[in-house]
């Protein structure tokens, strides 16, 4: 177990390193460089002065050399400054990352629980009207565009009924109630959009499991339906569901970006968007690195859960 984790963390570190270089290089390909932007405001600057400044900031150095300088500083915990906000990027990113994790975490837990529950019920009631209604809702969730759903909810719950704030972040003095009120609509949007596909997948996985020989054995043992389901079917059905969930972790973040923008939720999605639109290279770079790192960590967690669910998969070493 320890060796497995060490291997996975090392692997994640290498991925992160490679990705940082790719992002660095891609951002370098964007038109203009930081000095062009800086000097746009001052048309008096002569080409000689520009060349001098470029040399001073090291902007004219080859990309590998600039990347090395950035990397050495980053490894020492110095991720640089934001060009627009004139603050260390870490000070900006940490709260935004926290906000995103709250939003996506709540949506993830709710949608996974809901999807597995609905999928299981649909599988047990296969072919009945209950199954058909769940299927209908799943398809509705899959096909509805999240921006339309978000706007509909804002209109209904914020404008017409006035139950929930239309968007933005809760103030600290509003406490948990304020947090819940502000979270409700963005979380609901994400849950509705994400549950449908997963529920259909969970239904298929459960139908597959219920046809297995060991379920027939469980019935031959005289187990109650409830015990058969909880002790024998559910855990087996969760294995393929977890595989899909792990694959979708990356999408969860990008999916949240649009929702964050819609509800003025101060998360990573919004921050990255603003950084790119505002040519805040360094902030965009570090944001993307943090998102990548989060997804990598989530994947390691999924792997651990996977081996916990399925003893046939060994963590590099035998379990017992």
């Amino acid at each position: 177990m320890g060796r497995f984790l060490l291997g996975r963390i090392t692997g994640a570190g290498i991925v992160l390193l490679l990705k940082s270089f790719v992002i660095f290089a891609l951002i370098g390909l964007m038109p203009g460089d930081p000095l062009d932007l800086m000097m746009n405001a001052n048309p008096e600057t002569t080409p000689e002065q520009m060349a001098h400044l470029r040399a001073m900031y090291g902007v004219d150095l080859p990309i590998t050399q600039r990347y090395w300088t950035w990397l050495v500083a980053a490894l020492q915990g110095d991720f640089g400054y934001s060009r627009i906000q004139h603050r260390p990027v870490l000070d900006i990113i940490i709260p935004a990352l926290g906000n995103t994790l709250i939003l996506t975490g709540a949506a993830f837990v709710l949608s996974t629980t809901l999807a597995v529950t609905l999928g299981t019920i649909a599988a047990l009631k296969r072919g009945t009207w209950i199954d058909r209604i769940i299927n209908l809702f799943a398809f509705a969730g899959i096909s509805v565009p999240s921006f339309w759903l978000g706007l509909l909810m804002i209109y209904l719950f914020a404008v017409r009924l006035g139950w929930l704030p239309a968007g933005g972040m809760p103030r600290p003095e509003q406490g948990y109630g304020g947090m819940l009120a502000h979270l409700a609509m963005p979380v609901m949007t994400l849950v509705i959009v994400e549950t449908g596909g997963l529920a259909r997948y969970a239904r298929a996985a459960m139908i597959e499991v219920l046809s297995q020989d060991y379920i027939r054995t469980a019935r031959a043992k005289g187990l109650t339906d409830r015990r058969m389901l909880v002790r024998h079917a559910l855990r087996n059905a969760l294995i393929p569901v977890l595989t899909l969930v792990a694959l979708q972790l990356g999408g969860l973040f990008s999916g949240a970006a649009l929702t964050e923008a819609m509800f003025a939720w101060r998360g990573m999605g919004r921050l990255i968007l603003e950084a790119i639109l505002g040519n805040d290279y360094n902030l965009a770079l570090v944001c993307l690195m943090f998102v990548t790192a989060t997804i990598l960590i989530a994947n390691i967690c999924a792997d651990i859960a996977y081996t916990w669910l399925d003893p046939r998969i060994s963590l590099g070493k035998r379990r017992r």
């Binding site: 060991y214 031959a220 043992k221 005289g222 015990r227 002790r231 855990r235 087996n236 399925d310």
Partner: protein, 352 residues
């Protein structure tokens, strides 16, 4: 597959062992006058009402405590469906007709929950493929102990202790360690031993073994058969032993029921059926056994393929393959006739 079985150990004439007494309150009372398991004109139809297929037709059988009924016939003749019907596990939707009684109680009219309580506790079943029949993600000790938790209200610790004892009982070395193993960590023979340990956990009065040795190596098959016989001797449980291989059945059965296309074509004491078969199909099965009858260079098989119960021909279902067929065979369904004491066959050409 397992061509090395010989009819060596015929067991006819064994006395009825007494049933182990049991204190559990919900154990059904046995009517003294009636065998443990009785089927009369049992039929099983599968599929929804508008598209029913009859897979079992008019089956009669009875089985006393401590005795073994061997059910034999080619693949698809309805052996497993008979077993599942007895267990109350026939695939839905289905319709089961006739009479099915167990320990003096009518299984077919019994409430579902009562039927569930009987399963595992009073009648248990083991299956052909122990790899897929065991849950891959649950330790085998837990799967065994669960029986006692569900049927005997045992605590988790008592159940896991009992599981270790049961593993030892079925001949697994180092049972305490094996109890925490997962099915994929065990050999095929050990998995079947685990299945057997699970089945006997609540001391059932009836054990249905559906091809329990078919998926195993030949060397392991004999060990498993010996284990089943030993357990039966110790507990006095009745056994329904199903196999497509008459040789295997002959090693364990007191009585034999030969099935063809969803019907019984011959029943009787094992010794009579094996040494003096009355039905041409039984004779064909015996002829295809190695080392029985005349030596032949090529292993004989019964010509033709078994009919699907879905499109059974009128008259005798075996007629298309029967070496003794005459015109009358194809017109009327042959009734079971007594050919010797306790032996019956459904063939118009066999007379006592």
């Amino acid at each position: 597959m397992s061509g090395s079985w010989r009819i060596t150990s015929l067991r006819g004439g064994r006395g009825t062992a007494s049933c182990t007494d049991d204190q559990r309150p919900f154990r059904v009372a046995t009517a003294l006058t009636e065998p443990l398991l009785v089927g009369r004109a049992l039929t099983v139809d599968l599929g929804p009402a508008h598209d029913r297929t009859s897979v079992i037709t008019g089956l009669d059988f009875s089985l006393a405590a401590g005795r073994t009924l061997g059910v034999v016939g080619e693949s698809g003749c309805g052996k497993s469906m008979t077993a599942l019907a007895i267990m109350g596990l026939a695939p839905s939707p289905h319709r089961i007709g006739g009479v099915l009684r167990f320990a003096g109680q009518d299984l077919l009219t019994m409430p579902q929950d009562r039927r569930r309580q009987l399963r595992g506790a009073d009648m248990a079943m083991i299956f052909q493929e122990p790899m897929t029949a065991l849950n891959p993600v649950v330790p085998v000790g837990v799967q065994i102990g669960e029986m006692l938790i569900v049927h005997d209200n045992a605590s988790e610790t008592a159940a896991s202790r009992a599981a270790v004892a049961l593993l030892e009982r079925v001949g697994i070395a180092d049972p305490a360690r094996r109890a925490s193993a997962y099915p994929h960590e065990l050999s095929g023979g050990m998995r079947q031993r685990v299945m057997i340990a699970m089945a006997i956990a609540c001391k059932p009065r009836l054990l249905i073994a559906d091809e329990p040795t078919t998926a195993l190596d030949v060397s392991v098959q004999a060990q498993i058969l010996d284990l089943l016989l030993e357990l039966q001797r110790d507990t006095g449980m009745a056994m329904v032993f199903i196999s497509h291989n008459l040789g295997v059945v002959s090693a364990v059965a007191d009585d034999i029921m030969v099935m063809y296309a969803g019907r019984a074509v011959e029943t009787g004491p094992a010794q009579r059926v094996l040494t003096a078969p009355a039905h041409p199909y039984t004779a064909g099965l015996i002829a295809t056994l190695p080392d029985i009858g005349r030596r032949q260079k090529i292993l004989p098989v019964i010509e033709g393929s078994p009919v699907n119960p879905r499109n059974r021909p009128p008259g005798c279902a075996f007629a298309p393959r029967c070496p003794l067929v005459i015109a009358e065979c194809r017109t009327g369904l042959p009734a079971m006739v007594i050919v010797s004491p306790g032996q019956e066959a459904a063939c118009i050409r066999c007379t006592a």
